[in-house]
């Protein structure tokens, strides 16, 4: 690789980073301003800080509950779809299943549905049909985890397939010859090699679930509300409380940021997206 003039690269990336970071910086600016100050000629640099939004958000017990729900739902969903997706990809790449390309494509199409209309059947199914006695899936974390599968399973399969495909089949075959069970081959041979892809899938599906709004807003009421639905409480006929919204947004960023930086180094190697070498 070329190594000339690293400072040029650095300068370039500082400029790009400025563009990337500016809206996030602005989010922070909004969160530390009283609403009335948003309606004036804007200043680029913050001159004073107004922390009331933060004290209000931090002292709000319901929001803490929402945060917990969000964590459980996104983690549960990411783990579930990655596991199922991984197994599905193993099946698709290792077995000669009839019509598997069509099945694969059909699975992906589940992500394409425009969400607004599908809320209605989901609501009906979750309140009236998918029930055990008095227990219905509406307003439960498990319900949300399952519903998010329609969005995230296709994505997981899409990202994982090239990874699993890229692991030489000879490895499995050698293990089978040695008498290993399928379970053992999957967990001890294929999975470790697929780790970067799995990490990327986990993090991206986690982020999608963490950020999802419309489904959560409709399918939860009291017990399973997530942080993004908490945001909508501040968009009303009497007022959109931009400051509080921005503050909650800042809080939604923190866990996502932590999770993201944890797997940062895997991201590049894991995101091969069908770019399998011949």
């Amino acid at each position: 690789m070329q190594r000339q003039r690293p400072w040029l690269s650095i300068l370039f990336w500082v400029l790009i980073s400025f563009l990337t970071l500016f809206p996030i910086y602005w989010l922070f600016v909004i969160s530390v301003k009283p609403a009335v100050d948003l309606f004036s000629t804007p200043d680029l640099i913050l001159k004073s800080f107004y922390w009331d939004n933060y004290t209000e958000v931090l002292s709000d017990r319901t929001l803490r509950g929402y945060m917990m729900n969000s964590l459980i739902v996104s983690t549960g969903n990411a783990v579930l779809v990655t596991t199922l997706g991984f197994l599905a990809c193993y099946a698709l790449t290792r077995y000669d299943l009839g019509g598997k390309e069509s099945i694969f494509f059909w699975m992906i199409t589940n992500r394409m549905a425009p969400p607004a209309v599908f809320l209605l059947p989901l609501f009906l199914l979750m309140t009236q049909y998918y029930r055990i006695g008095d227990f219905t899936l509406l307003d439960t974390k498990i319900g949300l985890i399952l519903v998010y599968c329609t969005l995230n399973l296709p994505f997981a399969i899409w990202t994982l397939r090239p990874t699993v495909e890229g692991i030489p089949k000879e490895l499995d075959e050698a293990a089978y010859v040695d008498g290993a069970s399928a379970w053992k081959v999957i967990t001890e041979i294929v999975f470790p090699l697929a780790r970067p892809g799995v990490a990327v899938t986990l993090i991206l599906t986690w982020v999608f679930a963490w950020n999802e709004y419309l489904l959560a807003a409709t399918l939860t009421n009291f017990n399973a509300r997530t942080l993004t639905t908490g945001l909508s409480e501040y968009v009303t006929t009497t007022g959109t409380e931009w400051g509080i919204m921005a503050t909650i947004s800042v809080f939604t960023l923190i866990p996502a940021l932590i999770v993201f930086s944890l797997v940062q180094r895997h991201i590049v190697t894991g995101l091969t997206f069908g770019a399998v070498k011949g």
């Binding site: 009283p34 309606f39 004036s40 409709t218 639905t229």
Partner: protein
């Protein structure tokens, strides 16, 4: 309250859905715990956004799920719910269950606003909890400034007073917008709720501007087969409606530039930030604009007046044929699908007890009982608000909520795209209103209200 009821309601939890507004927050933060202490009934209130609130309540009641025991009824949705028999008649339910009648609850104590929630039989279908009028706010500090008054006098030949007519209002708006430019101030002559992609603009025109030109109930005539166009007997594209639109657009051009992205919230904040000399602002915001210095830069500088009118409109309003502006608000109603109707009935009465109303009026700047006007602390605040509560009491009857249509949001959404085109200038006001009237009739036909 109902001490003997404790055992009966053991372990009952009431669930309600509402928007997150100061009055609603008062219900969940103050009234609910107090009620639980008294009766042992837990009350959980789900707060969500405006769109979501309707959608969730409708899905629940339509599917008969029974999630909610109480739903928020914006005054404009109640007719749709009544048409579908979604709600319990509280008056009748209390007559059937005299044992559930709370001492101190008196239906006759409600202000006239409660009439919006009565069915054809006169029964009450909800406990009013928010009630505001959309008023004309002006900046007293500017209107009383000697230099400004002198300049205004010189330019127009008359005293600077809150406008009584649209002409006067326009004159003042022009004056202040120019004044702002000349003195390099962030000051404009009027507000405008003129968002080009959000129905807030539709509401401002049809609920607050068109009536002041004598075009009532959106210009639709229910008794004439729901006609909207002039040729069929409606008024949506009448000359008055067109004049109102032209005037309103000219005001929008004098308003601060953010107005094209303004819903009710932004209008209030624009005024609170001191960027407009006058404007039509929803009453729920009037209180914090006038008194809360953490949110407003014009505390103590807010005057309240009646909206500017065309000739004859006041006479219409006095006689009950018309109205001069928008009376906004909401109530809590009980879906027939609720599984805890007795307990919900208790809570709905509890919300309307005179003893909880004074604090509520202070916290949420809303009044729904006649007796609350006389409370000493309410009268104190009234003075700070420039007489807003007095106006609500004395002149509230001149204002009116949304017309009694069960197709409220359907019609708005059907016509809104054309309306936005008028705002962006893609359509002339006259042509745009013609198209809107035609579109209204088309939509009402397809919904089955209008028959060919």
């Amino acid at each position: 309250m109902v001490a003997g009821g404790r055992a009966q309601f053991d372990g009952v939890t009431l669930r309600g859905v509402t928007e997150s507004t100061p009055p609603s927050n008062f219900v969940s933060d103050v009234l609910a715990p107090k009620f639980e202490e008294l009766t042992g009934i837990r009350v959980e209130i789900e707060t969500t956004s405006w769109d979501q609130m309707y959608d969730k309540a409708i899905k629940d009641m339509e599917a008969g799920t029974g999630i909610y025991d109480m739903v928020y009824l914006e005054q404009d949705i109640v007719y749709a719910y009544l048409a579908r028999d979604f709600l319990v008649d509280v008056t009748a339910a209390l007559q059937e269950h005299p044992d559930l009648q709370a001492p101190g609850y008196d239906e006759a104590n409600f202000t006239t606003f409660a009439d919006n929630f009565r069915g054809e039989n006169g029964g009450l279908y909800g406990t009013p909890m928010e009630a505001f009028i959309k008023v004309y706010l002006y900046r007293t500090d500017l209107f009383e400034d000697e230099e400004i008054r002198a300049a205004f006098q010189e330019q127009t030949g008359r005293e600077l007073e809150p406008a009584k007519t649209h002409e006067e209002y326009a004159e003042i708006a022009e004056f202040f917008t120019r004044w702002g430019q000349e003195h390099d101030l962030d000051l404009w002559g009027t507000t405008a709720q003129a968002h080009t992609g959000h129905p807030a603009s539709w509401y401002e025109y049809f609920e607050s501007v068109a009536p002041t030109y004598g075009v009532y109930d959106w210009g639709i005539k229910p008794d004439q087969n729901y006609a909207a166009s002039v040729e069929n007997g409606g008024e949506m594209n009448s000359d008055e409606a067109k004049a109102a639109m032209t005037w309103w657009l000219s005001m929008r051009d004098l308003a601060p530039p953010e107005s094209v992205q303004s819903t009710w919230t932004e209008v209030a904040t624009t005024f609170a930030a001191g960027r407009a000399a006058q404007g039509l602002v929803y009453g729920e915001n009037a209180a914090w604009i006038a008194t809360d210095d953490s949110q407003s830069r014009v505390v103590g500088e807010v005057g309240v007046a009646m909206p500017p009118l065309e000739d004859g409109v006041m006479e219409d309003a006095e006689s009950g044929e018309g109205y001069i502006g928008y009376y906004d608000g909401g109530a809590f109603g009980m879906p027939v699908t609720s599984n805890n109707q007795d307990a919900a009935l208790l809570f709905m009465q509890f919300m309307a007890l005179p003893e909880v109303q004074e604090d509520w009026a202070i916290a949420g700047s809303r009044i729904t009982l006649n007796s609350t006007y006389d409370a000493p602390r309410v009268q104190e605040v009234d003075a700070e608000l420039g007489g807003y509560y007095t106006m609500l009491r004395d002149d509230g009857r001149l204002f009116k909520g949304a017309p009694e249509y069960p197709f409220h949001r359907q019609l708005i959404e059907a016509t809104a795209p054309i309306f936005y085109q008028i705002l962006t200038g893609d359509l002339e006001p006259g042509e745009g209103l013609d198209q809107m009237a035609a579109k209204s009739e088309e939509e009402l036909t397809s919904l089955g209200y209008r028959t060919n």
